[in-house]
């Protein structure tokens, strides 16, 4: 990302974003207090949300839903329509922001032309019922019993691999609600966030599970050049998402692609130990730790740019420097279209190379006349990047993100100068185990959590 590109991004705030987010806030506020306790003001806010959708296919259904809800009849179907309307507004915000970012970066992006995936058996009734109950009660009314009532549903979802998305999402939301119980006396509520999670969960759990169905895929072979790893984690799940440039064999355009490997875990397995849970993908982990190119053959690539990783169809090849990949290939690579349901500002995570900057106040990079905040909350505990290292950096591979009106850069890899020596660190450096002696020692002190819990599970679970 060049100074002129950053200037272009910051100088082109798309119109209507604030207005759209205000409409979303009206809905989010109704969720705080519960849909059974709507006063005239909150009812009017829902009416405004429905009115904004009037010209869309959801228009008539949204108007009817608000009429029924304000009259006191809050059905699952009505809530689902409003959740869809909220998602449509945030989808439009996402599109406008991403378009601004693509324009600033000069990044070409594919178009979404895929048909809706086929329907599948419905296992999501319990999920919808719990979300319905939450909406009636409102966040302020959530107590231990209401949170615990989701346990069985979450267990049954986790047992079905195809329903991992709603399972992981519901589990994350339930854990936050549990930690905040009783919410009635909570000082602050993450209003936007919980409404986001609730709405997405409701959309994913619509009858038929259509929203969870896999997108269409093509088969690809070629070289996969890693840019960096983004790590996502809550108490009971971790996902390593690799951003890379795909160089198809036999020529063809370079494309941006992602590889996502995820696994269930427990809260006490954290930090570098999470890599052990991903040990089923040794080729991928080795390529990350040793910074090697990946040769892949005949692997499914989903229309949204996600490779469905098959470790046995991959081989780690020669060393490949991610900074070189970023410098040489990133600018010309085709970015994938975003699947319709995933369109939300939180999903914007565009890889960029930023060089020759200075870091001010430890958390803001200055490039030319403009500045961009560094997202130091997104440095994963399983990797070597620290706020100090980022503050000492002058080049990074990062993801451009957006939250609550602000663009930020999340570093995935940095080049820094520490004690006059050049240092380079990547999020995936410890994929085969930490290389920093201090971290190795700390890990040895706390023992092998994974092994201890597996032993306990083996002894106690199968009785």
């Amino acid at each position: 990302m060049l100074a002129v590109q950053l200037a272009g991004l910051l100088g082109s705030a798309p119109a209507g974003v604030d207005e759209a987010l205000d409409l979303v806030s009206g809905f989010d506020d109704a969720l705080v207090h519960g849909f059974t306790r709507l006063d005239a003001e909150r009812g009017a806010a829902l009416g405004a949300l429905a009115a904004s959708l009037a010209a869309s296919p959801l228009g008539a259904a949204a108007r009817e839903a608000v009429e029924k809800i304000t009259a006191g009849s809050v059905s699952e179907e009505h809530l689902a329509v409003l959740a869809g309307g909220r998602a449509a507004l945030l989808g439009a915000v996402h599109d406008a922001l991403l378009d601004g970012l693509d324009t600033a970066l000069g990044r070409a992006r594919g178009r979404w032309t895929q048909p809706a995936p086929p329907q599948r058996e419905d296992l999501l009734g319990g999920c919808r019922a719990w979300l319905h109950e939450l909406a009636l009660t409102g966040w302020r009314g959530v107590d231990h019993d209401l949170v615990s009532s989701a346990d069985r549903t979450i267990e049954s979802l986790l047992a079905v691999p195809a329903l991992r998305r709603p399972a992981v999402l519901l589990d994350g939301l339930a854990a936050e609600l549990r930690a905040s119980c009783p919410v009635a006396t909570a000082e602050r509520i993450p209003v936007r966030r919980w409404a986001d999670l609730w709405s997405r969960a409701l959309l994913l759990s619509q009858a038929g599970g259509r929203a969870c169905a896999a997108e269409p895929a093509e088969r690809v072979s070629g070289r996969l050049l890693v840019l960096g790893v983004d790590v996502h984690e809550h108490d009971t799940a971790v996902q390593a998402q690799v951003h890379a440039v795909l160089e198809p064999s036999g020529g063809g355009e370079h494309r941006l692609a992602r590889v996502s490997v995820s696994v269930a875990k427990v809260d006490t397995i954290a930090g570098p130990a999470v890599w052990k849970l991903l040990a089923d993908h040794p080729v991928l982990l080795r390529a990350l730790a040793e910074r090697r190119v990946l040769e892949i053959s005949d692997m499914p690539l989903l229309a949204g740019g996600d490779l469905v990783w098959q470790d046995e169809a991959a081989a780690a090849g020669e060393p490949a420097d991610p900074f070189t990949t970023a410098r040489v290939l990133l600018a010309g690579a085709l970015a994938p279209a975003v699947p319709p349901l995933e369109r939300h500002p939180v999903r914007i995570a565009e890889p960029v190379l930023i060089e020759d900057y200075t870091v001010k106040e430890g958390s803001r990079l200055e490039l030319g006349e403009h500045g961009l905040d560094l997202d130091l909350d997104r440095l994963p505990s399983c990797g070597p990047l620290t706020p100090e290292l980022v503050a000492a950096s002058s080049a990074c591979i990062g993801l451009v993100r957006w939250d609550a009106g602000r663009w930020k850069a999340q570093p995935l890899a940095v080049r820094a100068t520490v004690g006059r020596k050049p240092v380079e660190a990547h999020n995936g450096d410890w994929a085969l185990g930490p290389t920093d002696p201090k971290v190795v020692k700390a890990q040895a002190r706390s023992g092998d959590s994974v092994a201890v819990l597996r032993e306990r599970a083996g002894r106690l679970l199968r009785k």
């Binding site: 231990h144 997405r200 009971t236 130091l376």
Partner: protein, 178 residues
């Protein structure tokens, strides 16, 4: 720097930017601070849930026996039983060693402030949390906590996936637990 959000923000909650203006309008904030690493051999399971500090403590003598220990928030009623629901022999009008171990490990995992706030107990920094409790033995069903522990363990049996989970963008890994 960090304000408590009713028992959910915590000591050591670096990166929990709840003080930042606009926090309510942000999508990607970490609401539950990550657990801190600790040795799991003695106390494999600790949680703050259902109005209790509760968990499972391995028996020192029998490898296939565990104790289920709990302390209620507010009242500080305590209980300790084996996984077969027999009362702990060490519980004679005062918290047994299993309950002490449970509290010690909870303090390591969550930080002393978060545990104290959850149990609603006043304790000075570095003070003895167990000593500050003023409850009496209460009868609680060990089976509920034990089944929560089994559920906890069962996460390690769930097969991983290589299909993307885009919803996890709402859950960034933060650098606190290292």
């Amino acid at each position: 720097m960090i304000k408590a959000v009713n028992g959910l923000s915590t000591a050591g909650g670096v990166g929990l930017d709840v003080d930042e203006t606009g926090w309510e309008l942000r999508s990607a904030v970490r609401v539950v601070p990550p657990a801190r690493p600790r040795k799991l051999a003695k106390v494999p399971f600790v949680e703050l849930a259902d109005g209790r500090l509760q968990g499972v403590v391995s028996s020192g003598s029998d490898i296939s026996r565990v104790y289920v220990s709990s302390i209620s928030a507010g009242e500080h009623g305590y209980n300790c039983r084996t996984n077969n629901n027999r009362p702990c022999g060490g519980l004679r009008g005062a918290p047994c060693k299993h309950l002490r171990a449970l509290v010690d490990e909870a303090v390591l995992q969550y930080g002393p402030q978060r545990v104290a706030r959850y149990l609603r107990v006043e304790v000075e920094e570095g003070g003895d949390l167990v000593g500050a409790l003023d409850g009496a033995p209460e009868s609680a069903d060990a089976a509920v906590v034990f089944s929560r522990f089994l559920r906890h363990l069962s996460y390690l049996e769930v097969p991983g996936t290589t299909m993307p989970v885009p919803e996890l963008h709402w859950f960034p890994s933060t650098g606190v637990a290292r």
